[in-house]
């Protein structure tokens, strides 16, 4: 915040990504209270109302903040096992390669069945979103914080579906729309392939693998 007197200038608003939802009213109120307090202090030596800041204001537009704002409940990321033959995430340079994550409901149960047969497209889309939540959980575990994710690079969405099913892109949009919500349009849209497969492990409905660019 500027400390110079700016009596005729409206209170500046922080630069924000227009793709993100507005800051919650409580935060805006706090910010505007802080700004008013600053301007008031510069303009008049009159007594100021005491400002009580009880919490640290987190930086705007960070990914973890978005995850909190959206009230996303990320599942528990699977712990690396000494006998595992794969790992959830591999970092190479500034890229994070994420293994295929399968669809699990919030209660941990696998979401199984073929989309277009046992599951509707809407249910498949929800399954794809759940894959996204699991991927975010793995990334957070690997990176320490999702704030280290710079952008989505590449997505491969695999949909368990019967012959003749044509709506794989709509299903995988469940994943991609979650990424848009979390990372915004510039950082959340990746290159993508969304295809059907005849079977998936444990008969899960959707599996998604992805590549992310990360900050050092």
């Amino acid at each position: 915040m500027s400390t110079k007197p700016r009596p005729s200038v409206p209170a500046p608003t922080p630069a924000r990504n227009p793709n993100l939802n507005p800051a919650p009213p409580r935060l805006l109120a706090l910010l505007s209270a802080l700004l008013c307090a600053g301007l008031t202090a510069c303009q008049t030596p009159a007594p100021q109302p005491p400002i009580q800041v009880t919490t640290t204001v987190t930086p705007l537009d960070t990914i973890e903040r978005r995850v909190a704002e959206l009230k996303l409940a990320l599942p528990t990321a699977s712990k690396p096992s000494p006998t595992a033959t794969l790992t959830s995430v591999v970092i190479s340079g500034n890229l994070a390669f994420v293994s295929g994550h399968i669809s699990r409901a919030a209660d941990g149960q696998l979401i199984t069945g073929r989309v277009g047969e046992e599951l509707t497209v809407a249910q498949g889309k929800d399954a794809a979103r759940q894959c996204g939540l699991a991927i975010l959980a793995s990334l957070r575990q690997e990176l320490g914080s999702l704030d280290r994710v710079r952008r989505v690079v590449k997505v491969l969405g695999l949909v368990n579906c019967p012959p003749g099913f044509k709506d794989q892109p709509q299903v995988v949009n469940g994943f991609s729309e979650l990424m848009l919500d979390v990372f915004g349009r510039e950082r959340g849209l990746g290159a993508r392939s969304a295809v059907g497969v005849g079977s998936l492990p444990s008969n899960v409905a959707v599996e998604v693998e992805a590549v992310f660019e990360i900050l050092p």
Binding site: K154, G164, D167, Q170, R192
Partner: protein, 153 residues
């Protein structure tokens, strides 16, 4: 010879770069790697080649479809980069063929794409790592879908 010059020499007609209809970008560049979304077999009239290879389409038709995927990819990459001359090499391809259960010639189908890339970028830069698999059904019942990664200069 430059890739753009090869396109002209081979008299290849690239389609208009397809616009994404869903939640993705045609290309994402990360560092010097260019990640290209899955592209379907786009025809000159902007429709897609559909059908199951080995059932509705024969091998040659499947190869032609794979080549059309390649032309669509070249169109997208040129549109994004301004020129194909910015491509240093083809790195990795995933070729997905919409096939019947007992079809086993996926590599021959995807060769339709790979031979195009070799023609355009040359014997070294145009030949990349590759997987060619049966993966279906594909969106809209398209016959082939190809995604790939290019290294940029």
């Amino acid at each position: 010879m430059s890739a753009d010059a090869r396109i002209a020499e081979l008299k290849l007609e690239l389609p208009a770069a397809p616009k994404p209809a869903h939640v993705y970008k045609p290309v994402v560049i990360a560092g010097n790697m260019c990640y290209v979304s899955g592209h379907g077999p786009l025809k000159a009239d902007k429709t897609m080649i559909t059908g199951v290879v080995g059932k509705d389409l024969n091998l040659e038709q499947g190869q032609f479809a794979a080549r059309q995927c390649g032309l669509a990819i070249l169109a997208t990459v040129r549109n994004e980069l301004g020129s194909l001359d910015r491509v240093k090499r083809l790195v990795k391809t995933l070729g997905m063929v919409n096939t019947a259960a007992n079809f086993y010639d996926h590599p021959k189908v995807i060769n339709g794409y790979s031979e195009l890339m070799r023609e355009v970028f040359g014997d070294d830069a145009g030949v990349g790592a590759r997987s060619a698999v049966g993966m279906g059904p594909l969106p809209g019942n398209i016959a082939v879908e190809v995604e790939c990664i290019f290294e940029l200069r």
